[in-house]
Symmetry: D2
């Protein structure tokens, strides 16, 4: 049985608390938030759980084994550092930290303290994304040509981060999980439309060593909600629509081949293939349930979790490069051994 | 009655011939194509129309007033020049020419010959795009924040042009029509996935003097067909789905405002508005029918057509800048007095 | 503050408990269920609430003011009767009872005991259905021509009731609420496809005194989930799709008129109107929250609730007539003063 | 080479003419229509084809081998009889005749004259319907439990026939083709909402000797167009949406089984299966092209066509029974050896 404290009971915190509470292997000992009205909600729902304005009570509580952090990004590093200092295992909401340097320091500190450091890359734990990884790894897709994601809606405008740090982070964590390769450069454009606000619309292009191209469109100011990713491969292609009820993932046996016959005209050498579509059944398990299991199990087994600190850091590195490119209106920013801008 | 000759009876030519034939003010005198099998189809359908392998027979025919050109882009300039030389009015399929220099020369020549030069920017003649222009001009949308278009499918791979020249040209012609302003710079990324082929996927970002951002995603290698444009404004927002049957255009009374009160926290100053949606009835008239009318009427009235040579040239200038940026992986290319790369 | 006891913690009970618990005017004192594993779930989630296998403990508890019943239909009458006998107010899941005679007896008993008797016709409390009633009552639709509902999915096969009693009851409760008139006759067809099972597919036609026709298609054995109602009127028409996210209700300005001119041919007298579509913004309030409020408020104010015992009885009368018609393969069964079969 | 004459150039006639004209094995010699403006359209499009107000000129023309009839239903019998009398082969638009007696007489007469009599059941020639037949015949679906079709839109109100004869006829022809069995009884409800008009909305239930249930909903007065058929079977289920572009047919591996174990409770004996979905690629061939081929080939080979007079008569028999039931508000009307009402 792992005893958990949760810092932050705003938008995401309640989901973490609920999933820890539903688990047979965990217990939520205490919750903290700076807003008394949020604490009142938590207290009403979970009469047996301590609710406090001061997160240090959680850190000081020797009964608590692990801390989950669901606060604004700017506070992630400081809170995670304090939790590790107090000897707690730590699960941090995405993105892991506000800078890659902070991420590197947390990773090193967690290793030194022999504590689990995990990042909450929720989509990695969905049935759909896990099936995508399987389809890529077993060769069903062939060579991956492109990953194109649209993630837009009328969303909550954040103050401390722009739309890239808020939404594109999901796609970056998915790419980090499903692909064998990492991007080598990014070109990002975007715009802020509210006075004094962060960028509310952005377009990221990620280049890889191969001819793979990844593109992510994120937007807080769209009239409709769209969550759709198209993945093109040399053999088959995937359409992943996260808003679909029972057919989130569709695999198309469609594509184009060019024969090598130099005698033929170009048009005659291109062969189009339009075959069947197949939508595998996916279970409806809540991703966060699986993620909470992974956290608990990695603590119990003293092993590295699937979405460890390194995964968190790789994503933050791309976010940093993306921000640099965005400020320079699409200027190519390379990634690699260190972030050479 | 305007007598018309059509050069090119491949993919688009038959649509031009059919619409000229259905018009009460025009007659198709002759059709030419380099492919005898295409000519046979034309001859079968239109027994009264001359079908020839040699387009020069059309140019030499004094009974022909106007020439419509539906051939590969690389031949547009030469054929249009010949037609103007022969004293014919000219309608050229999009894009007008392969370079902006060619476009400028055609415009000058047509003026000198006092002949109509028109470009086939078909979407400008659709009910949906005309309604969009109306909604922007009457202030319904407010300040235009962004134009985001996705135009993808498993398409015919072209040999002489890439996907930007083939598909993005549609959005560029729509933008040229509905907006009062022209882009000042572009950043384009893309990739070719077939050996020896042109780029089959591309992402264009267009910057304007205002905070308007335009983005166009074009792709020949997608498993599904999507034709959807989202236009965000300070007052309302449009979703235009060209594949919808009867509700192609939806206007959403949704948005975000930030109050100026400096006393309040940022989150509290942001007001979200989620109101009604309205889909205006659009007539089902074929765009090409209206376009053919515009061509005939501009000849008869000796007036400038809506999509004149200048419109064609402006679009080609952006296509040139886009190509330069694409080759430089997203490098910002400015547009303006001449194309200063 | 109303103190509530909930009998039945299976599929629907947890929703009732959650909504009573979230209300500021109610408190859930106790929950009963015959299944210990369901009770364990309740106890875990609501540590302060008594959980018991014996519903009589709830009835005997003087602290409890009201009982909500979420058990199989066959037990509704007996449990409601016991609750009223114990002086409790009663909210019963739909359908109110297994026979209209039982319904009549409960209504009479509640009146005698001066207690509130309310039926859980949930859809009546949705924003969409309330907007439909408004559109009908303010004349927007004109004369109502038809109500056509499809309510199908791969659903839980019930043992004690067929698909009419399980699903069509929703549409009957909606019709009872939005229309001024009651049906005068029904014709129902259907089939059972599982050995020993109740009918899993059924089609109900309801006739009214006017030319209004209502039709309901319910099916437990469909591969896809559909919840769509079309309401045709002389002026406008509604499409209500309950699975849509933000545009559940669409109002179409479409229709057909016949002019009276006897000189004209029939075809020339018919005028088709295809106008705009409008989707009003609907709030996302959970229906059950509003329903729970109505129950609490009707107790506090000692007034008749919106979905009272009479509404429940009217629906059960139609269900009885529908069953009779279904057994006779579509035979018309009349409704009226009593159910004259 | 078969020489064809087409009687009727209204809504459907132009499609017949175009497909005969495009065939390499046929030639359209003449077209007749009572409306001079329609004839003018035909003459303009097909300069080499004779256009006449008098259909008797087609019958008298010895160069014509076959007659296609695309006129109102009430004239089908008379025109087909005349054409057979003149020794022509005959293709008649659906439904074959206005009564089953007329159908029987035509069948007998065609046999006596040794001429082909074919009915234009277009849907039988679509890729989707042919694939459905294949999936049923090869056992993929298992036992067919139900066929549920919705065929509604804002349609052209007919004067001489009601919506059953206009739209339900399509589903009846599909059922006649894909099923091995014929219905034994029907129950139909419906309504007319325009003064003096035929029924514009109707619901047909068809009973078979097995537990198969077929239901057809047709409506001329719907705000949206729907063409969707769900076919449930003991093994798999089909959703056929004719308005879908590239995925008209979806096969779901979903269903319910009941185990026989009498020891278990009913709920525990029901097993739900929610598996994959598969959408086979269908070619885009125009159905009418295939149908015209079938007509020409059956003439050339002197063989019975797929949709022969008997198929046409079986459908008319059901239409007659449906009308009788509709007038009696859902009264069960049996079909069989003769139509025993």
């Amino acid at each position: 049985m792992i005893n958990v404290g949760v810092i932050g009971y705003g938008y995401w915190g309640p989901n973490l608390v609920r999933n820890f509470a539903d688990s047979n292997s965990a217990r939520v000992i205490a919750v903290s938030d700076l807003d008394p009205s949020r604490l009142a909600v938590a207290a009403r729902r979970y009469p047996g759980t301590e609710a406090t304005l001061d997160h240090r009570q959680l850190l000081a509580n020797p009964a608590i084994d692990a801390i989950a952090i669901a606060t604004p990004v700017s506070s992630h590093f400081e809170l995670a550092w304090q939790a590790l200092s107090a000897g707690k295992h730590v699960l941090v909401e995405k993105p892991l930290t506000a800078t890659s340097d902070q991420a590197a320091r947390l990773i090193e500190f967690a290793a030194a303290k022999r504590r689990i450091l995990m990042v909450d890359h929720t989509f990695v734990y969905t049935s759909a994304v896990r099936k995508i990884k399987e389809l890529i790894e077993n060769g069903e897709i062939g060579e991956v040509y492109y990953y194109d994601s649209v993630r837009i809606n009328l969303g909550l405008f954040q103050h401390d981060v722009n739309v890239v740090w808020d939404l594109a982070v999901h796609d970056l964590s998915i790419l980090d999980y499903v692909l064998a390769a990492s991007p080598v450069a990014v070109s990002v454009t975007g715009m802020s439309h509210l006075a004094g606000g962060a960028e509310n619309i952005a377009y990221l292009t990620l280049f890889f060593e191969s001819s793979l191209l990844a593109h992510i469109h994120v937007n807080w100011l769209a009239p409709v909600k769209i969550r759709r990713t198209v993945i093109g491969g040399s053999s088959k292609m995937i359409v992943y629509d996260d808003l679909e009820g029972s057919e989130k993932l569709k695999l198309y046996d469609r594509g184009v081949q060019v024969s090598e016959d130099p005698e033929k005209l170009y048009q005659l050498r291109v062969n189009y293939r339009a075959g069947d579509m197949w939508a595998p059944h996916l279970d409806n398990a809540e991703a966060l349930k699986l993620e909470v299991s992974e956290f608990i199990d990695s603590i119990a087994s003293n092993r590295r979790p699937l979405t460890d600190g390194e995964a968190g850091m790789r994503v933050v590195q791309i976010l940093e490069a993306a921000t640099a490119s965005l400020l320079a209106r699409g200027k190519l920013v390379t990634l690699g051994k260190g972030v050479a801008v």
